[in-house]
Symmetry: D2
């Protein structure tokens, strides 16, 4: 496998970093040659994550020693680097790497919002790389595949936006629904909250309970509105709302819309099926079948289900993804595949862990 393309990972201690190691451990075209962490540098990956051991690729990955995030070193070793660090930190590293000719997939929010003031408003911090912001490609293959292939910098979409945008795209592209009456009720597994020590995400604070959080204030709102507005051909303001599920992985977005004119489930389903007919990583489930988060667990699929409430003229779209795979690290690998000239779906898991 000497011919695999060498890649790096900045930030290996969070859940998206962990998920990248899982995916890259089975990727035939990419080889992880650098994994960085300010706090864990000097240890092997196997000492951090004892499950990264055994024969073959898994053991080889486990033997990798974690390094400090040094752009010089990363650029010398890697053709492409994944950034799995908090926003703001990502800006600086991305800039340094790209200047050295390294391709970057940024999993943070730093390059997702095209409009600098919008970023600065929602994230309450200046954006110091406006040129890169202008250049970055939003890494959702179903919308930007061609641009991604030529990009130096991919802004990997947020987890909720991935589910929401893919759920809404056909309806908006075809003008099926009113754009001023969209409500997204989204629920996410707890890995979406990250791997920082915090009382609020302790087992005993999450298991056996359910709650909404961040209502009216979630930072994925402008990201969704940006892409949805482009799809709708005009500005869309919508209601985006988030809840915390007592599961590890998975997002289900229940999206409420109002049909412009009466349609049957069959009609809507046909349009959705047509829109995604050639997409390898979106599955429009049969009419009458509603998605479950476990059906996409560990995979790159976005599963879409539809319901039409003819009584009241509403279309309800259900969109399910694995927030760590399709909603973060798997999508980042799809982006890397495209940037590096590999098949888009290479190395990406598709068979879910059931049960």
């Amino acid at each position: 496998m000497a011919q695999r393309i060498p890649v790096g990972l900045v930030g290996v201690t969070g859940y998206t970093g962990m998920e990248l190691t899982r995916i890259l451990a089975g990727h035939p075209g990419l080889e992880l040659v650098r994994a960085t962490s300010r706090s864990e540098a000097g240890k092997t990956l196997a000492s951090l994550y004892p499950y990264l051991s055994g024969p073959g690729d898994l053991g080889r990955m486990g033997a990798l020693t974690v390094t400090q995030p040094d752009p010089e070193d990363l650029a010398a070793a890697c053709q492409l680097v994944f950034l799995a660090v908090p926003h703001k930190t990502a800006q600086e590293i991305a800039s340094a790497l790209i200047k050295k000719g390294v391709k970057v997939v940024d999993l943070s929010a730093d390059f997702r919002l095209r409009h600098k003031p919008t970023y600065e408003h929602w994230y309450a911090t200046p954006h110091t790389e406006p040129d890169l912001l202008a250049e970055a490609v939003y890494g959702l293959p179903e919308l930007y595949r061609a641009d991604m292939a030529g990009a130096r910098l991919i802004a990997n979409p947020g987890c909720y936006p991935t589910a929401s945008i893919l759920g809404l795209a056909p309806a908006l592209e075809k003008g099926l629904v009113h754009t001023d009456d969209i409500v997204i009720d989204a629920k996410s597994g707890t890995s979406g909250a990250g791997r920082k020590a915090s009382v609020g995400t302790l087992f005993c604070e999450v298991a056996d309970t359910f709650r909404a959080y961040n209502l009216t204030k979630h930072r994925h709102t402008p990201e969704i509105e940006q892409e949805v507005s482009l799809l709708a051909g005009g500005p869309v303001a919508l209601s985006f709302n988030t809840h915390l599920l007592p599961i590890d992985r998975g997002i289900l977005a229940t999206i409420y819309t109002r049909l412009v004119k009466p349609m049957t489930l069959k009609d809507v389903h046909a349009l959705y099926a047509e829109r995604y007919a050639d997409e390898p990583l979106v599955r429009v489930l049969p009419a009458g079948t509603l998605p479950e988060t476990r059906w996409v667990r560990g995979t790159m699929f976005c599963d879409i289900g539809l319901a039409v409430d003819e009584r009241i003229g509403r279309l309800i779209v259900l969109s399910a993804i694995d927030n760590l795979c399709r909603g973060a690290s798997g999508q980042a690998v799809a982006g890397a595949n495209l940037m590096l000239g590999l098949p888009e779906t290479q190395g990406l898991p598709t068979a879910p862990l059931m049960p």
Copy 2:
């Protein structure tokens, strides 16, 4: 405690039956003297539920022998009977008991819909007790307290309707929101699905996943619309949607509405707080605090949280209950208390099990 009022329970093998035993075990004014089950008659409650043993009331309840559901026997022994059996079955038993002068709290759906054809449409079965249907009182204390006190038959509200109606009542009574744009996104713990052997609710089919179910077809829709229409003073058709949570107990309803005119969170909160100021079993949480299902676990509280999305003119109401206690058996006991002249909240749990 010889002076406690003797009551009976028809249907002890389901989760609502179990919850009734839990509540009645600590009730100072009611004594369970009959518990019936067609399949388990002849056993003691303790042999069915080994945790119903020990000293005092708990052990005395466990020593009770399960009987066949015989109206004659129930009427001889009980002043009031709780029906925790499926709809349709409840109609017949309710009628037989009331004829014998026994008060009845029916936990099934049989007497909740005032309009016979609506019942027959949604439940796909004839209603054979139209007189009782006309007489039955919908057992939500916050709306019908006085009527409940004088009733012979209480139709105990459904779990989702309890959360939904209490969440919407202040907004509708005061005309804050448009009645043609209401979406209820409700999530329930799995005990709501009952205690029948079924593949779909096995542990491995529910844990670590999340899904919607019954979209556009849930039988609680007409029940909610009936009460909400009365509150709004005109017919309301709304979008009611249900999801299955991997937790035992708890419902969270996230209710999306559109404000008639711009209001701040503070304004709306004041109106909600005022509406429920004297209600012992509804808590309007402080502005900015959102409810969690565990905060009401095992209790009779309906906890209400509010969010106003001023950007898009929407009021979001969050309503949390314990589906087995407030959403079923606890509310049934509140109804029984009122019917029997006891204090409404007597014997009802209020301190949640945390964590």
Copy 3:
């Protein structure tokens, strides 16, 4: 209720503190008049725990303002104080309070080990209150009820020791088993790990997994051996081992012993039943019935089940408790009841939350 005895709680932010508020909220004989926390002083309990609101006792408790832990103030206000703080800290506060004439129930490990060097070895810190150590009564009612009633200071037993000692007591008192071949395989819910922010007890690190921890090093080992040796009438060294369960509450100890001579399940069961016949808070389940942690959830019961493997001459004892209630705060309240001349079981929950 002005006649309730005023008590205080030092350390309200952990799970044992929370559990004490839950129990005291429904206690007819005790009133919580002080709750302290260094980090949260100045807030009301309701602002810390929004579920501590509503009418009656629950709301009154929620209105209590958290204070700094000041022995002077505590002594002026309280007849008895519960200490729910880490070991070492407890020593100092206990001493100060007792000097001022306040009774103390210490939930930490500081006064459980009668032998000062053993404490200092296992807890790796000097014990600075040897006189109090000598005076303290180990607060397990089934063994020390009379002493507890007269105590100034109760050392509230650890969670694992409570389950283990109660499970072993009859077998050891009657000499049924070899004392040199005892293995305790214990499993605990995650609330036992406390409420500190920590990566290891995040939801995503505990849910959907299972692991042993602290093997051969758990600090409850000497506590169990101390009490078990007294029961056996000679020194016992045993194998005590702990595992972390993905549940909030509950301990199940599976205790493996070797019978001195062949016995049937019936024989052993009769001896266990006899031993605990008059105990209000221990339930020996019927022969053939094995305990579940949920059967004691939220309650003070210790449920004991038995199995005899006649093929190999082994007695297996299963002992289940709620680690927060019987294994900590509930048992502390039982101790307080005894110290204050109230009925031992007053205010203690017995009906479990099922499911």
Copy 4:
């Protein structure tokens, strides 16, 4: 991929059947061409399991139509058949298939016990295929790799026995421990209980609780004793005990033994590491690291951790597997690989889903 070897699966509706589809969907050397079910024949796999859809192998598998289990048809289409049906049923089908020249991997217990009377005693049913019983090879690669390669019929080991035997093998082979004092305290995820509709394994009966089951009566006892006796070179009777975990997948066996002579952890660890040095599917974790079920989730690894309690001369072995993969379907595929001349580990998952 036309050159993949065609295989069949009898019994696709249980969890082991589901797991086989997951593994075979990614297997480069085997192709599932038949999947049978008496109750679901005529449907496609995708209609049973909507997640078996999408592009490539997954979608091709989903398009397969479920058939009745007809040996004639299976033999015509398949070189090898996996039996994922209950014991007793498996005997008959295995016999019919082998007569037609088809290789068989039986996941039931029918051919695991070499001694016919032992089978008939523990399974309470006659064994009607004594010749096949004598011929069958116990499919644990670490013990019987060579025999498996030449077998017509593999008896796929039980889940608990796999974990238990691999955990004990080095200690017994090297005579480190007394063979008359072995206690296995095993805990399994709920998928081990199968996919039949049953009240006892409903979500609300398993989540948030923990219990032992089948103590002294579990049918895996004779299977473990059979293999352990062979390893020890003489008859071993041990204490085998099982518990139900509120997780989907995973077994952790905590195995208590008594050392023949004092040894340090370092000594024992070296012997274990040496024993499994060349084994691709067993990982002896570093000394001091204890296994977790999630580290093997979805994989073929058996992870082993060790603890020596020098104080009391005990060796504790912890052995973790995924009960559905290593403990059933994955091990069956390893057996099939060997029987068909493919590399033993081909197509077997090794990177666990974390978290």
